[in-house]
Amino acid sequence: MILLINRAITDILNNKFLYIVSIFTITISIFIVSMFTLFFVNTNKIMDSWEKGIKIMAYLKSDKNIEENRKKILNLYGVKEIKFISKKNALNLLKKQMKRQSSLFTNIESNPLPDAFEIKMINFAKNHKKIDVLASQIESLPFIDDVEYGEKWIVKYINIFNLFKFTGYGICVVFFITSIFIVVNTIKLIFYSRKEELKIMRLVGATDNFIKNPFYISGVFQGFIGGILGILILFIIYLMVLTNVDKEFILDFINVRFLSFYEYIILILCSIFSGWFGCYIALKKI
């Protein structure tokens, strides 16, 4: 075992240039993947905050059985939360929303607005078809007068969320695969330039494992170092951006955050995996 690690180390020292190239490649790949993760993690929060805003307004007939009706709606699949908004609250809200135009309402005596439920949905139901279905289910309830749910507006936004989310996930997956490809390629190239050496080792009686194990060790090592460096570079850039950019500019809107410990671990594991996998693929045909 000590001999094995020893061999892996001398191997790295004897082929510094190749290992530097390979670690550098892994570093870049991990940097890109983690940069994207960072971007995605942060924009995802924006999307989440938008999503929270999606709700259905259900206007009630003048039926006073509010608690009972609320339960009926709660039983529908997809409903998460229901808030009752009395006609009085509705008018106040309206006045507040329309500051300037509130002068319109000063002379009104009777309140023509209906009572309403504000209905929030579980995440799963936040899809434009599912909302349609839920809305018509609610509308068909006898105590409901009318249903309103932003229609076009809501559809638009849900579609943006989904477009972002799916392309986001897609890009992340593509990155991960391509960076593994690139690492595999680099390691393959390294093997190519060392194939004579491996042939000689075979000829003096080395078994497959004897030849391959140090490569796996150094592959994992390269992955580990590359991963750490990649995240480090990202972190440095992140700090540089954060100190140079007008802080209010971003911070008053969302808390841009760096990766969590959990995400670190995942990224470094991915990096180690790609080093290992690169070796695996490159060694398979030797």
């Binding site: 001398t10 082929n15 004579e196 050496e197 000689i200 080792m201 009686g205 004897f210």
Partner: protein, 228 residues
């Protein structure tokens, strides 16, 4: 008594109707050779005669086109791939082009053979040093092959071939880059292994080596045996 058992008793290498073709050209044609344990054999012939090819077939760097080769009781065209390393550990090879690993020092190149068969570090260090002394290369122990002269590289190749105390030594032109005095020392080394029971097979075109030596001579020309 099976055929293979019978052969094992008296011959360590036996070739039956061995052919090796490259494209449509025969590098070796209908070779039949039997080499006994502890024999000292020269394979000779002009450039391109097939000497190196013959050795390469024995240590499995090249594959047979037709025929059978039996080494130490093992039919090498039927050997399991994972057993090949263990066969090779019984063999010491001096390659015509040395085949030193350029990224490893002289010490590392030679110790590799011992590491492969799982020797202890302390033993390896002692053994490598002593074999380098024998070939007159102890001063270059930490040099890289590209920092050695042609003859020095060849001596390292010799040292690597014999360091594992192999049962068979294949030496392909082992003294081609050496002056007469050093060449004689290397031949003496090979003979001392022979005296300890090793089978030695030397491919060379150097008549001087052959004339000043003892042992059997097999002459090749255009891939065929012309004298045995």
């Amino acid at each position: 008594m099976k055929l293979e058992d019978k052969i094992k008793k008296d011959a360590i290498i036996r070739m039956f109707h061995v052919n090796r073709k490259y494209g449509s050209v025969y590098a070796l044609k209908d070779i039949n050779i039997e080499i006994k344990k502890n024999e000292f054999v020269f394979i000779t012939g002009p450039s391109g005669a097939g000497k190196s090819t013959l050795l390469k077939l024995c240590y499995l760097e090249e594959k047979l086109t037709e025929g059978q080769i039996i080494i130490d009781g093992i039919n090498i065209s039927r050997i399991l791939p994972k057993k090949i390393p263990f066969l090779r550990r019984k063999i010491g090879i001096i390659f015509q082009d040395y085949k030193l690993i350029l990224t490893k020092t002289v010490f590392e190149n030679i110790s590799l053979v011992l590491e492969v068969s799982g020797h202890k570090i302390s033993y390896i260090k002692k053994k490598v040093r002593s074999i380098l002394r024998t070939v007159g290369m102890e001063e270059k122990i930490n040099s890289y092959p590209l920092g050695l002269s042609g003859g020095e590289q060849q001596r390292v190749a010799v040292a690597r071939a014999v360091v594992g105390n192999p049962e068979i030594i294949f030496a392909d032109e082992p003294t081609g880059s050496l002056d007469k005095i050093t060449a004689k020392k290397i031949m003496e080394l090979l003979k001392s292994f022979h005296n300890r029971g090793t089978t030695v097979i030397i491919a060379t075109h150097d008549n001087f080596l052959i004339n000043n030596s003892y042992g059997r001579v097999i002459s090749l020309k255009n891939g065929k045996i012309i004298k045995n």
